[in-house]
Symmetry: C4
């Protein structure tokens, strides 16, 4: 690591780590993307070129403006749904990191009337709202993806001013946070909460006790303050995994 | 890698990678098989000799004609159900790759009346049909396997001209695609969709929103165009795993 | 490997591999045991001393007679439930290998009235019976374990002459086979079938299509003939894992 | 290892191993904590400073008195919920080790009326009680955490004199034992039992056969006596993993 790491260097490094963490934890598969607001310019965000998250390295990071255009045209393929990021950054100035995933146990909540609600204290942020975005209300026969600025804007509006999560019917979800550590924490616990809520609904369809509004308010503050603890663990793991992978890649092909 | 890789070399290499990917991702276990139409001759296909998919290497690949006979008799044991491949290649000229698996969460759909339907955009191809093949309609007291040309032909007919997936009651499924990357993508997302649909049916048995026909049509085109993204990731992983395994195999036996 | 491996050497080697396979595949955890009839003497069987299956090596294998006494008293701790093995070998001369596990998805079937039935062709042997052994019918307030010859005998009687699997209420199951490869295959697919049957019962509680008797009869013969295919894969994996573990154990302690 | 390991050395070493085991087995994620009563002084306990369990090493272990104050102030951050440990050690003199986790399949039981009950013999200790602690009965709009001595005391009282497990609504659970091996065993099998009970309740909501009181009494004694068997396995694995991780951390960063 460089001796004097700038905020930009840290942001790029954290962004690579965030991609790797969410892939390693099964929140992201070959698709999905993570962004961070550019610490040098709140009117821009940083995100990988179009690439499976588990393969992202620092050299893949591209600066986009809030219209989701790359600020330098290097001819790289960009994510088809980058509008998610630009439009939410425009609408929510406190948001500094965004995760879009096909988090596997969240999709079923996106495609039924069962609302995703906080059952685990780590997921208290769900108490601030977890609406479902139905793209059919905007475009019939679409590919379900947020492939235009207009759809990105509609998505940001559907999130409103408080929700940290929005579900996309037939598709996945988007999670935001004031820091990338908190956004990663929330993306992870959105999936964990979905699994636990599903099981609770099996155990007692009519008697699940969810966190109430006051508990969510109180708890989210604590959770934001401790989001660094799992981050430190996950970061250690993915950095080790990157070292190991690089070593394995130097082995002879059989 | 050779400097000038022929289409045949690429097909063999991709076929080995496809076997390894689907084993690593849990779609294939010790059984199942993957084939690719021979790029040198559309009247032939390439597939491993009878072997667990995770062990397949380039030297195991055998050319079969569309009657599922090996074009050179090297005395190798062949897959007992190779007729699946030959008969589908005969019936569906646009199909260039086929996966037969016992994909674990698809089997329950094959053995109940619950139809497998697209709940996740990546699995939009399910909208073109996912019929169930009931072998009892053809043979009583069978071993459930597609062990003759006649059964292979019946299976291909049951798929019809549009379905990319067919479920085999008590057994597994078959997935096809225009390229091996797309067939692997579809085999993987058939399993993922089955898991998500099962969970959605638990959450709201009567209110699951599936993709409609227009969405499937639109979405499948996009998905075919991006199937290379997870492929690149999966390929990197299995090639690394093969290097690591070969290195481990050189370690002394304890 | 020795140049001239005796049937006894092979049995011991296969027994170690079987322990490791079933631990690696999640059928066995820190408990459970695997035995093989002694190829030198059908009135004896080979099994590890009391040890977690994943740690068993050739030096841990102990010869037991069919009364489940060690033929040489080396003062080693023996499995508390070894009577399972001796009594079944007495009652079933065609049985040459036995697995006792707490296979995680089989336990729920052992503790409800839902019968475990064949839904996947690989598990056709379930069609020959999968009764539940209720130890309360023999001993009140027991520790649920088969800790005496009398309980072992009662268990063998409850299996009868044809069942290859018996479930133990609140505890686990026992699987038998004519070879250790087939017993391992069956123990693995008993777990897989349980998972798939559970999911099928969720999808359509009243319309699951199970394999019928004729299908089971036909299919089990084929499955016995191909049980070596996953065995070869699993054996390669556990041997590699043993090499890797031994190498890792030589690394310095941090 | 030192030639003459003191009881204190062993306790610290076992505590590190216990943290690693429960993280490796998925009982603990980035949160949760494990403690052991100080063998030199039953009025103190040993526990890591605030750190993800999978990262705990011997140098992180801090002695706390039973008021959950560190006996030496080294300025280290301590676990926010350490009162769980101190107050239970005060109330239950036979308890010598405590695990607090967010064990994933236990949370759903904590948030519904479905009682966690013993379905697997390894979890017979559940027969001595597994009450649910509802923090709303003490504090409205809390962060759900046991963040004061008063809450720790209320929790210990809710456990009463016999329960080895208590569930915390919306949060997790606490498991105790007379030794750290037994506490780890119980924390692991609390999760396993929850999974199996959930599945049994799906298979037959009204006909699950649980262990009765006499069976639990008898079985727990046996289980306590064999808890060392999986411990030996798990310890070997985490020690190997620690060696491997240290070696990987010496690899060059890519």
């Amino acid at each position: 690591m460089p001796q004097q790491e700038t905020p930009f260097d840290s942001a790029v490094s954290d962004l690579v780590v965030a991609n790797r963490i969410l892939a390693a934890e099964g929140v992201l598969d070959g698709f999905g993307h993570v962004s961070i607001r550019d610490p040098r310019d709140p009117g821009c965000y940083l995100m990988s070129r179009s690439l499976a998250p588990a393969l992202v390295t620092t050299t893949d990071i591209v600066q986009h403006d809030l219209d989701s255009k790359p600020t330098q045209d290097k001819g790289l393929g960009l994510y088809y749904e980058r509008w998610i990021h630009g439009e939410i950054y425009k609408a929510r100035p406190q948001v500094n990191a965004i995760v879009h995933s096909h988090s596997p146990t969240v999709v079923p909540f996106a495609s039924t009337k069962a609302p995703l609600r906080p059952i685990l204290h780590n997921a208290s942020f769900l108490g601030f709202g977890a609406p479902v975005f139905e793209i059919r209300n905007f475009i019939p026969n679409s590919d379900l993806m947020i492939s235009t600025a207009a759809l990105g804007k509609a998505l940001a509006e559907a999130m409103g001013p408080t929700a940290d999560v929005i579900l996309l019917r037939g598709h996945g979800n988007v999670v935001v946070g004031p820091t990338i550590q908190i956004a990663v924490f929330r993306a992870y616990y959105t999936e964990i909460n979905a699994r636990q809520q599903l099981n609770a609904m099996i155990l007692g369809p009519n008697d699940v006790v969810y966190m109430n509004a006051g508990e969510c308010e109180t708890t989210d503050k604590v959770m934001q303050s401790v989001a660094g603890r799992p981050w430190d663990l996950w970061k250690r793991r993915v950095q080790r995994e990157m070292r190991r992978a690089a070593a394995d890649d130097r082995l002879p092909h059989p």
